[in-house]
Amino acid sequence: MGTDDAAGLGIQVAYAAGTLTVTLTGEVDLDSVAGLHQAMEEAHAPWGTRVVIDLSGVAFMDSAGIHALLTCYELAQDRGGSLSVTGAHGVVERVLHLSGTLTLFRPPPPGGTRPGLN
């Protein structure tokens, strides 16, 4: 399943074995929030799903993109799951680093939750 939002963000979702992989291409910004949420909803993944956002196809993101990712993080948590980010590189990795969210979006250790988060 794939969609393209107005700002040119491509969203592909795939569910397998408790993990929902959301692969993004293009640019993540403030306009991406609705599309991202819709894609996560429509995947009908079960309670407790681990969401992995793959950013390897994203070349540009600013702080509004960080906010979009944080809203997805909250959505995943509200459904008893977790969210992590993979494949960030270049500007995107730098923006994640500068926003202080790298640790937050790191994959949880196998079989455990991160300390300090509820």
Partner: protein, 399 residues
Amino acid sequence: MTGMEDSAFAAAVKRLLDQGPAGGPEQLADLVRRTAQAMGLNSAVVFLADLQQRDLVPLPGSRDNDGMWSRPLGIEDTLAGRAYRTTATQSSQDGPAVLWLPLVDGRTRIGVMRAEADEATAEVVDWCRALASATALLVASQATHSDELIRLTRSRPMRVAAEMVWAFLPPTTIGNGRVTSTGLLEPAYQVAGDAFDHALTSDTLHLTLVDAMGHDLASGQSSAVALAGCRATRRAGGSLAEIVTDVDKELAEWVPGRMLTGIFADLDLATGTLEWINCGHPPPLLLRGHHIVSGALERTPVLPLGLGPRYPREHTSHRFALRPGDRILLHTDGLTEARSPAGEIFGDQRLADFVTRAASSGESAQETARRLLHAILDYHQHQLRDDAALLIAEWHPGS
């Protein structure tokens, strides 16, 4: 010159200070001219810088013995502009002596005064400086309540969010013998989410720069709450950590669903120790000598503010020892990350090059800030998609 007595000079300035606050800008123009004439000058005309500091606009009804002054003068390319840019008196002798004197409110440039005399003796220059100082005070006092004066410095209507942000801003330049701090914002008439604050105590300079997500009234609200929260805690004697904690709480409660990045810093004016907390914001830059010291102030930031109680809140502060003459530059990502119509970003390197060139030319921090924001606007062909804010502080003990 006239050989006017000091007592007559004092009487003229006293009359100016007594009568100045009562009228509007037109009365002020008239009063300054008459005061100048009472001092034995031929004339004096007051010009104010527009909001974006591109032009010097004469007060309405300005005139000298040769006629009216109604056209703005460019800051970039006139002698008047040179007086403004350098904050130093400029003179020309083409017939009568003409002096262009900077008008400065505290440390913030607000315009220039053109004074004309038969001869520019040292005494006349001194009197003109005194007249310029008194005039600057009167302009600053009218600016707090005169819409005519505000209108004069604007070239177009301002968005509501921008009106709110500007109302919250401190004077753009502050300082004392040990430190100078200057801040600026663009696009001036449309800003919504970026804001800065700076304030002095006898031993500390406090710096705050924030970037609220989005470009609407709620963004302006978010940065206004951050500035107000910061001030309330700071003025009650709170630490940086307490400021961050309080601002985070207020934002989450009153502007939910939004986030704000920012840097909160204190500079110890005696020792030069900079202490700061970075909440998801681009790192401060250190400008030492003529160069940006790459990564000198880059530390792992804590999370942006206003995210709410589900996120872990830390307030780790960092410290760095400045050397005399060092400059700190805080900026929002709109300055470096925003893209030109062709899709290219201004970038850290261009910023570094610009600041380095400015430093080596020896210009003041406020002039660097003014020119840098113009460069950004020009680069984006005046179509900034994001706010760009800048705060430059220079530690110059013993200067």
